[in-house]
């Protein structure tokens, strides 16, 4: 009985998950592979046949490939600095964490307010006399500006989540390891790469997986800043589901996002694997 108790206590949550997550999830899987009640791959061929698919796919990949590494470096730098602070540490963490409290759509709108034709950026450039009339930054002629704006908004919005995880992880590393490395001749940079980073692997796994999953699902920020000018996978899922009313293709898109998420999570887990016995 005593041994069964934890399982019993976890049962409601597990049932909830099964009913409200795995069941609909199963439906989506089935939906992506059927059309009119027949098993088929047509949803996938339709999806890949559409001209926007490859653009959306590569836009998503490129966004992730640029945003996540930049965020990782920024989060590590900020965490290292915060770690050194003697006072005001938690205050600073709260400030860094503010963007976390804002929804992604709101974050997109904040950056829209900066970049749009009547936005802050135009006002400032105009005030300094750098431009003589407001510019259209986010037009379809200048895709790369939209891309850059999305990158900035994403970095602004979601670096803090990585930083918070990394700060917590760094707090778990006893400071004797760093001191031992210092005594045995490691420079500041060597201590970071040879001691801190390897000991941080479990936290880096969490932070990276969480962040990569979020990056593959980027949507609201892109819509706010570029509408459909910059197609991404999640945006296309939305389009097929609600605009084109084709649930099958939408489900196929969802499968692609899922596939990417699983694949990259496995890569991260593999790369940052900590052998048994080598944990703190």
């Amino acid at each position: 009985m005593a041994r069964a108790l934890p399982y019993l206590l976890l049962l409601p949550a597990s049932l909830f998950l099964l009913v409200f997550f795995f069941y609909p999830f199963g439906l989506v899987v089935v939906e992506s592979m059927t059309r009119g009640g027949e098993w088929t791959t047509e949803n996938f061929t339709r999806m890949t046949g559409h001209w926007k698919f490859s653009t959306a796919f590569w836009n998503t990949i490129w966004l992730t490939a640029i945003v996540v590494p930049v965020q990782l470096i920024m989060a590590l730098t900020m965490a290292s600095l915060v770690q050194k602070l003697k006072t005001g540490r938690s205050g600073l963490l709260y400030i860094f964490a503010i963007p976390l409290g804002i929804s992604d759509l709101a974050a997109g709108l904040v950056w829209l307010a900066i970049f749009e034709q009547s936005g802050f950026l135009n006002s400032i450039l105009h005030a300094f006399g750098i431009i003589d009339r407001p510019q259209l930054f986010l037009g379809y002629q200048s895709l790369w500006v939209i891309f850059l704006a999305v990158v900035l908004a994403e970095i602004w919005r979601a670096t803090a989540i990585m930083m918070v995880i990394i700060v917590a992880g760094m707090g778990l590393i006893p400071k004797e390891y760093n001191e031992a490395a210092e005594v045995f001749g490691a420079s500041r940079w060597q201590r970071f790469t040879k001691v801190t980073l390897p000991l941080l692997r479990p936290s880096l796994q969490t932070a990276l997986i969480l962040r990569i999953l979020m990056a593959f699902e980027v949507f609201a920020v892109v819509v706010a800043l570029g509408g459909t000018t910059l197609p991404v996978l999640m945006g296309e899922t939305f389009q097929w589901q609600f605009q084109l009313q084709d649930r099958g293709v939408a489900a196929a898109y969802a499968m692609v996002i899922l596939g990417l998420s699983v694949a990259f999570s496995l890569v991260v887990l593999r790369l940052l694997h900590v052998p048994k016995g080598a944990r703190i």
């Binding site: 004797e176 390891y177 001191e179 210092e182 005594v183 001749g185 000991l199 080598a278 944990r279 703190i280």
Partner: protein, 345 residues
Amino acid sequence: MAEIVIKGVAKQFGAFTALHSVDLTIHDQEFMVLLGASGCGKTTLLRIIAGLETPSQGEVWIGGRRVDHLPPRARGIAMVFQNYAVFPHLTVFENIAFGLRMAKLPQAEVTRRVTRTAELMHIEQLLKRYSGELSGGQRQRVAVARALAMEPDVILMDEPLSNLDALLRLEMRAELKGVLAASKTTTIYVTHDQVEAMSLADRISVMNGGFIVQADKPTQVYRNPAARFVGSFIGNPPMNFLPAKRGENGRWHVAGKDFDGPDVAAAEFAIRPEDMHPAKAGLEAEVRVVEPLGPHTLVTAQVAGQPFRAVLESDRAISPGEVITLAPIPDRIRWFDPETQEAIA
């Protein structure tokens, strides 16, 4: 050649003074033990020598070079940490090799030194393991091997045996002594365990409240404490102290008995528990507790209303309530100044 000279080193943490002006010289190849109760500043002093802490005042010299402005790695030291600090993400081999790799030694030399020190510490069969797969004692050996592999001028050890169980501690103590003597390094060893200090040290520095009270050979520290504190801290059981009064005749009244003493106005009488034997004449002691210890018997008594302990031969039966007379060995009697607490020569 690595003589360590500490000149007027002080350390404040905010308003709290952890070290008052400390002066100490540790000779080349000497085994110096810093001994004192928890919180007296031993670790702080060791970390200042290592360069992990900056002194508020004073200078640190190692091998004729002033080092207090240098980072730890430029000081020619190696350190064994209290919690070992064996890197969990590296194998035992890579742990021992860590400092050698930082110093960019060629691979052949790294392998040679790791193998040699691992053999010295009897851990050659563990080289492929991670620290999570080692016992406390084995981790301790890795930490020592890592320090020895550097072939440093100076090894600093902060309570290296305090986390081991009693039997292992005894074994490691003897082993450390042999290994360090053979390595010819200057060693500073921090401990709060006086037995460890006695058995390892060439010299002991007894610390109290951020001061070094006495730095001398173990027998000297034991036999001739420079201050009342040293007598009361070292020895198990510690020294006995009794108030004394100068009589008309110039002799000292102690618990109703006369002793020859120093020619000063005020003094306190002191004697070690084992420096007495039962006799016809002597200090009258009312026995409270008797603890047979095998070869000896520890007697806790009252002399002139003061707690008083004696370690006696176990051949004679003594029982609580009994009054015994104890004669101090004359040349083992010590006198302290009640004002300054320092020994009177």
